[in-house]
Amino acid sequence: MRKWWFILVCLLMLPCLDLRAQEQEEEVDLPGIIFGHIGDAYEWHLFDWKDEPVAIPLPVIVHSKDTGWHVFSSHHLEEGEYEGFHIDPDSGKIVEADGRRPLDISITKNVLALMFSSLLLLAVILLTARWYRKHDALQEAPTGLAAFMEPLIMMVHEMARENIGEDYKRYSPYLCMAFLFILLNNFLGIVPFFPGGANLTGNIAITLVLALCTFFAVNLFGNKLYYKDIFNPDVPGFLKPIMPVIEVFSALMKPVSLTVRLFANMLAGHIMILSIVCVIFIMAKYGPLLLGSMSVVSVLFGVFLDALECLVAFIQAYVFTMLSSIYIGLSRQHAE
């Protein structure tokens, strides 16, 4: 118990030590800090060392209508313009000299995090599959990685079986993939240091692609009954012209709700944790007493929020997968 108190006190001291340098400085740029953490960037900022940012430069790949393809390292952009491109201070994106946006497929912080987490997921699942290939599952219980991954995968598989019905095996790999992808990235997002910390599932592009995958899985493989329910439902005659409009709208809104739910939940979680941590920095100029007491509060609250985020990370992955499987199940239902 005393050991834990000691660790807690040390943790509380850390921000105080760090902040003495900042005390004399001007107002803390709260939006800058928060959006710097949750947004995308052309470099991966690791930490500050003697007031100099230490960052991993990442490759910039842009295509300008006038000058064609350009590939260069992002550290060239630190000084300002390079090969006719510079970072727009308002949006933080690369723009051409005249302010137009080139086609920008740079390996940004989020893309690198995506690559890393995808490789991790790929390795974990393929290693698990290798266990099942190498061992006779009928003779021995899974061990190690397989024992860890099996419940997760089978949870989603069972969910697919319950919600989709007879041809669940066709959809179960997608649902497993979506679940593990979201779960892994949610957790990596909570990890505060490299290679975690990128706000991937709190980025609308990522959640949009996931939701569109569900949308296509639902609408490309929907059966006759599903389309009949949309375009010619069993309703009284005067409702016939209205129902298709409502149904099409609801079909289109489903991916939107999936996108926004995951994106907003994860984003909000990140912003909450960052804000709570920033409280310490803001309190620095109000004197040591307030700083000390608020530090305790914000560390305790930060621990609480981190635990909450772990819960939310799982719940959101689960909810996304659950809703996807229900939507797919609706498109594969059979007449009773």
Binding site: V111, S118, Y132, L138
Partner: protein, 164 residues
């Protein structure tokens, strides 16, 4: 605003990377795991069912065995009783037979004795007759030297026989 407008670059990379990873895992990852686990679940179900059936069969066997034992016990008592009865019967029969045989033998012996006695008596009578005839001859030879006496005697004898 940039938070809610999807970035084209990230969108592009997400589609590419997610697509590749999904394809690989769909081909070499998830189905292998889920199929194997499903096969194992089916195997476990099957084994449990078999075990249950085996248990039931075992119970049946035990019951059958018990029945067999009971039956054979019953049979045993029956056989024993029968044996006792048979023994008693045999003994009784043997006794009866022995008695019969003894009586038969006795009767036979008696008859034989009777016959012997008869024949002995006959022999004796014959002997006596011969003797008496001899004696009578001798007596008669002496007394019946006269014809008259002889005739008287014959007459007397004839009378005797007639009287008889």
């Amino acid at each position: 605003m940039s938070l809610v407008t999807p970035d084209i670059g990230l969108l592009f990379w997400m589609v590419v990377i997610f697509g590749i990873v999904f394809f690989l895992l769909w081909k070499f990852g998830f189905p292998i795991i889920t199929d194997m686990v499903e096969k194992r679940s089916a195997h476990i179900d099957e084994s449990l069912k078999l075990a249950r059936e085996a248990e039931i069969r075992m119970q049946d066997l035990a019951r059958e065995q018990q029945q067999l034992i009971d039956q054979s016990k019953l049979e045993q008592t029956r056989i024993l009783q029968e044996a006792t009865r048979t023994r008693a019967e045999i003994i009784a029969k043997a006794e009866q037979e022995a008695a019969d045989k003894a009586e038969q033998l006795l009767r036979k012996a008696r008859t034989e004795i009777e016959a012997e006695k008869e024949s002995a008596l006959r022999d004796i009578r014959k002997e006596v007759a011969e003797l008496s005839v001899g004696i009578a001859e001798k007596v008669i030879r002496k007394e019946l030297s006269s014809d008259k006496a002889q005739m008287d005697y014959v007459d007397r004898l004839v009378d005797e026989i007639e009287k008889k």
